[in-house]
Symmetry: C2
């Protein structure tokens, strides 16, 4: 609920996936009465989902234009708030949402415990480079820029990449030049603070420009929520521009072969969602305008993360 | 002088172009003694450049890591400061530089007169979209964000597009969502101020997200120098990632046919440079890391602008 895409469309996508043989998860869907009715209809037709999909009736959903802090206090029975409580209580292993980003972050802060020493959650996206995937954070959880948030992004991003098998991640600070004195005074302060922490947990390579980021020399890109969000959406926009142009001329098979993996990560319709990190619990945020395909992609990512947490 | 690319390489590129039949310009090159010597050698070999290339000996160049304000006061005989004075005196019609961006902006402010009502120059780049080219500004002249700079960017960008034949340009403010209250308080203030001016000179469509920018619905994208610089370099980086991948698989001719124009605008090696606007005079800024090819591309752009100014 609460995204820009019809919940019914998302429901049908989940049902198709949950009926398939590759699905190794149980679903708890959160929604209002019409969605519950639709699920009931589908359950009468499909066998497997009678077992692996359950439903929790939620109240008025949080809209995109609502003030996040007011909304999570007023709408404690929204799907977003109930989901966060189920996660806290261990009744679900991962929570996927395409609702209001601010409300998701605030409710995570309210209901879940924070990781040790972390002040605020951050949103992390994995992007393709010429080498291994890059963790970019924050991509929109914290709009106000404070040097200490950027330092925490360095730590959280490095931890994330270590959990993916990179022993000592290379961390870069997104800036408009490589020299230590580039950018605003806030960026200069963040540079100094991150540099102090470089060595043990991660290696700080200093400032990095956006055009170098995709060369694959770093594992973690640290940026504030405003710049990170612009960065991510620019990457999507340009990729969309180039890939759409290509689609006009290349045959479908040829296009898939050459560009399939890039498209999967850069084309917004197939984007696999972002990780809300810094909290104890797996929370995946999809774009509000997620297509059913992107939503499923995020769900598959959440299942993978939940499985990997369980085997640790 | 003062860029990251060898001045000798840039000199050879200019000489090749100046010798060609398509060249309809005279050049005044600014540089130190070794460059003057090299030009002398080339003049003994080539005929046309004896007529259309002259040389002005300049002093110690301004380096990339120098403080712009100190540098332009201390190094009045640098190629950058001499060039700006020649432009002011009408001895050249356009000035092209790949030196220190801050110094270029500060010297333009010092030597040239500002356009009426404009407080600071801005850097404008033209980028391809799915429809007509988009003017993006500021892409790095002003790092400190003030709402009034963003308002001036709207006016300057609209004027630029009007000079290119667009009667009433559509202006958008780069933000992380489309609602008026999205982004930082500074962005919200800028939104209100630009909206007040919408109607006569341009049409303000409101906030726009980076992924929508390339759809071609707007003619001018307003942003601060930090975000604009990240935006531009992200576009370059992603385009580079996708285009390099394509080059591996497509035949050269096929690649040129399908991607030639996109590559010309997005691939940093072929990037045609940015316009320093808000001042009286044509100033084109190339990246410090410009290849001879990119530098020539900027020179051709400067010639075109100068010709169009003369015929007005």
């Amino acid at each position: 609920m609460g995204g820009d895409t019809s919940p019914n469309l998302l429901l049908h996508a989940i049902v198709t996936f949950a009926e398939s043989d590759v699905c190794a998860a149980n679903f708890v869907l959160l929604g209002t009465a019409p969605l519950q009715k639709e699920l009931g209809n589908l359950k009468s037709k499909f066998r497997k989902i009678r077992e692996n999909i359950s439903f929790v009736l939620s109240g008025d959903p949080i809209r995109m234009d609502e003030n996040p802090l007011f909304a999570i206090r007023k709408k404690k029975n929204s799907s977003l708030c109930i989901g966060m409580r189920l996660l806290k209580e261990g009744k679900i292993d991962a929570f996927v949402s395409c609702g209001n980003t601010g409300a998701l972050m605030s409710s995570a802060k309210l209901y879940l415990s924070m990781k040790k020493g972390i002040l605020r959650p951050a949103l992390l996206a994995l992007l393709p480079t010429k080498k291994t995937p890059l963790a970019v954070l924050d991509i929109g959880a914290n709009i106000s820029i404070k040097p200490e948030y950027l330092v925490q992004c360095a730590t959280l991003g490095a931890d994330f990449q270590k959990s993916r098998g990179i022993k000592k991640p290379n961390v870069g600070l997104l800036n408009i030049g490589t020299e230590a004195l580039k950018g605003t005074s806030l960026m200069q302060k963040a540079y100094q603070e991150i540099e102090k922490r470089s060595g043990k947990e991660f290696h700080f390579i200093g400032n990095i420009e956006a055009k170098e980021v995709f060369e694959g020399k770093i594992d973690v890109l640290v940026t504030d929520g405003f710049t990170g969000n612009v960065f991510l959406k620019t990457a999507e926009g340009i990729a969309n521009l180039v890939l759409d142009r290509l689609k006009e001329t290349l045959a479908e098979k040829e296009f898939e072969e050459q560009m399939g993996d890039l498209q999967k990560h850069l084309h917004y319709a197939k984007y696999p969602g972002a990780h809300l990190i810094g909290v104890n619990g797996t929370v995946i945020k999809c774009h509000g305008y997620s297509t059913p395909e992107a939503f499923l992609s995020a769900i598959k990512g959440a299942i993978k993360t939940a499985h990997s947490n369980k085997t640790k």
